[in-house]
Amino acid sequence: MNLMKRFKSNWARGAAVAVLLALVLTPLVFDLGDYILTVVTLFLIYIILSQSWNLMGGYAGQVNLGLAAYFGVGAFCYNLLYSVGTPFWIAMLLGGLAATALSCVIGPPTLRLREAYFGIGTLAVAEVLALIMNILYPQVRYAPPSYWAIFSLRKAYFISLIATVLTMVTAYGVVSSRLGLILQAIRDDEDAANSSGINPAKYKMRVFFISSFLAGIAGGVFGFYRGVLAPAQQFNASWTIGPLMAATIGGWGTLMGPVWGSLVYVILQEILGRYVREAHFIITGIIFILVIMFMPNGLAQAGVEVRRALKSAVPRSRTPVQGGR
C-alpha cells in the first residue's frame, strides 16, 4: 500500500493500469495467433532481463557483462528440476534462487573491481560457464511428455506477464526505497558515498542478488516458453548483449527505459530477422554503437528533452517580446 501511495502521478498510475488491463484482456478476448503471442512473450522476457541489468548497471553503475550466466543458470535449473517432476513454478523460483546462489559466489571477488574491470570479470565468468556447459551438456535437452500436455502459448504468455509485473514492482520498490538512493549515490561517486558512511560493497551485493534473481526467473520463464533447451545456448553472450542493448536504447537508470528499449529492440529484431536474416546482428550492432555515441542516455532522455522543448516553446510564442525595437 505504501508503495501505491508513493505512486504519485495519477497519469502514470492510470496508464500503467490501462496497459496492464489491455495486456491481460486482449489475449483472453481475441485470438491473437501464435506469432504475435510469441513476439510479445519474448518482449516480456526481455523486459525482465533488461530491467535486471538496469538495476545493476543503470542504478548502481556496475556494468555487468555476464548477465547470460544468471539467465542460463535459471533456465538450466528450471529444466533439470522440471524434468524430474517439480511443478513448473517451483522450478522457476528455484532457478532464480540458483542464480542468486551463483551471484553469492561470483559477487564478492568481482564487486571489488571498479568500472570496466567489473565488466571484464563478469564477462570472463560467464564465458567460462558457457565453456563448461558446452563440455558437460552438449546435447539438446527435451522437455518430458507431461510438459507438452500442459503447455500452451497463452499460458507461457501469462506466466511471463506475471513475472514481468513482479519484476517491475520489484524494480519500483528498489528504486523508490533507501536502497535505490544509496545505489545512485554509489554510481555517482563511490568514494563520496563511502566517506558519508555507506558501505558500498554491502549495497552492491544486495542489488546483485536482486538482479541475478530476476535474471534467473527470466531464465525459468524462457525455459517454460521454449520447452526444448540446449543448455549452453542460454549462456551465450548474445543473452547479455540483447538486454544490455535494450536497456541502453531505453535509457539507463530509468524505470521505464528497459520497457521502451525492449519494445524497440524486439520489434527491430523481428523486422531485421525477417528481411535481412543473418545480417541482422550486424545492423543491431551498428545501431547499438550509434546509440552509445549519439544518444548515451537513451530514449528516456530523448523523451525528457522533447517535453522540455515543447514546454519552453509554448510560452515563448505567447509572451510578447520584451523591450520592443
Binding site: R112, L131, I132, G285, I289, I292
Partner: protein
C-alpha cells in the same frame, strides 16, 4: 611430457603476450578498453588465410600486408568511434569504449560469419606439419617461426616506444594526458597512432593464430578474454611485464591441460583469474 607441455606453453604464452600488448597499449595509454581486439585479430587471420588460399602467398610474407591493413583499420577505428570519447573523463571513457566495442565485436564477428561462414580454417603450407627437436621436446616449426616473429615485433615496439620522439609522447600521454597536452604533445595524433599500432599488433597475432592454431569467426571473444586475464595478471605494467605474464599464463594453461584434460584449460584460466582478483587485487590498479 612435461617438456612437451612446457614448449607448447611457451608458444601459447608468446601468443598471449602478443594479443595482450595490443590491448594493453590502448588500455594503458588511452584508457580505452577494446573488446573487439580479438575480432580485429580474427580479421587479420582471415586476410592471411585468403591471401594464401587464393594467391598462394606464404603466410610469413603476408604478415607485413596484414600489419598495414591492421594499421589502417586502427586509424579508421579511432576516427569513426574512439575520437568521440577522447574528451570525456577516464572512468566513463573506459565504460563507454567497452560498450561500444562490445557492439563492434558483434558487427565484426557477424560480418565474418556472413562473408566466410563458420568453417574452421587453417593455413596448410608445405612446412606446416614439420616438427623440430628442441631439448627433448618436439615443437612444430610454424610455432617456432611465429614465436620468433612475435619476439621481433615486440623488440621493434620497445625500440619505438623508448627510442623515438613519438614513442616518448605516447609514454607521456599514458602517464598524464592533460600534462602531455600542456607541453605540446598532440593528443589526438598520439591516440590515432596508438590505435593503429594496437590493431596492427592484433593483425600479427591473428596471422600467427591461423598458422599455428585454427581460425573461425567466433575466436575473437575468447582470445580477448584470455588477453584480459593476462592484463590483470600483469597489473597494467610495461611491455616486459605483460610479456612475462603472458608466458606464465600460457605455460600454466598447457600444464593444466596435461593434468586436468584438454577440455578444462579454460576453466583453469578462470581459476587463476579469480585467485588473482581475491589475493592480489592491487595487481589490477597498480600503475
Amino acid at each position: 611430457m612435461f617438456a612437451q607441455a612446457l614448449a607448447y606453453g611457451i608458444i601459447l604464452g608468446i601468443f598471449y603476450g602478443l594479443v595482450t600488448i595490443g590491448l594493453a597499449l590502448l588500455f594503458g595509454v588511452m584508457k580505452y578498453l577494446n573488446l573487439a581486439h580479438g575480432s580485429f585479430m580474427m580479421l587479420g587471420g582471415y586476410i592471411c588465410f585468403w591471401m594464401f588460399a587464393l594467391w598462394g602467398v606464404d603466410p610469413m610474407l603476408s604478415i607485413p600486408v596484414v600489419m598495414i591493413a591492421g594499421f589502417v583499420l586502427g586509424l579508421l577505428l579511432y576516427q569513426l568511434l574512439f575520437k568521440s570519447l577522447s574528451k570525456v573523463p577516464e572512468g566513463r571513457r573506459m565504460n563507454s569504449s567497452m560498450l561500444m566495442t562490445f557492439g563492434l565485436l558483434m558487427v565484426l564477428d557477424n560480418t565474418a560469419i556472413a562473408l566466410w561462414h563458420t568453417d574452421i580454417r587453417t593455413v596448410n603450407t608445405s612446412y606446416s606439419g614439420r616438427m623440430i627437436d628442441l631439448i627433448g621436446a618436439k615443437v612444430p616449426l610454424t610455432g617456432v617461426m611465429v614465436t620468433m616473429i612475435a619476439v621481433l615485433v615486440i623488440i621493434a615496439l620497445h625500440l619505438f616506444l623508448y627510442g623515438t620522439y613519438l614513442g616518448k609522447s605516447i609514454r607521456a600521454t599514458a602517464q598524464d594526458w592533460e600534462a602531455a597536452n600542456l607541453v605540446g604533445v598532440n593528443i589526438n595524433f598520439t591516440y590515432l597512432i596508438c590505435c593503429g599500432i594496437s590493431i596492427a599488433l592484433a593483425g600479427v597475432a591473428g596471422t600467427g593464430i591461423v598458422i599455428v592454431y585454427s581460425l573461425s569467426p567466433d575466436v575473437g571473444l575468447r582470445w580477448v578474454l584470455f588477453a584480459m586475464v593476462v592484463l590483470v595478471l600483469a597489473g597494467m605494467g610495461n611491455i616486459k611485464e605483460v610479456f612475462l605474464a603472458g608466458l606464465i599464463m600460457g605455460v600454466l594453461e598447457q600444464l593444466s591441460a596435461v593434468f586436468l584434460g584438454g577440455q578444462f584449460r579454460g576453466v583453469a584460466s578462470l581459476a587463476i583469474f579469480v585467485l588473482i582478483l581475491v589475493l592480489r587485487p592491487e595487481g589490477l590498479f597498480r600503475r
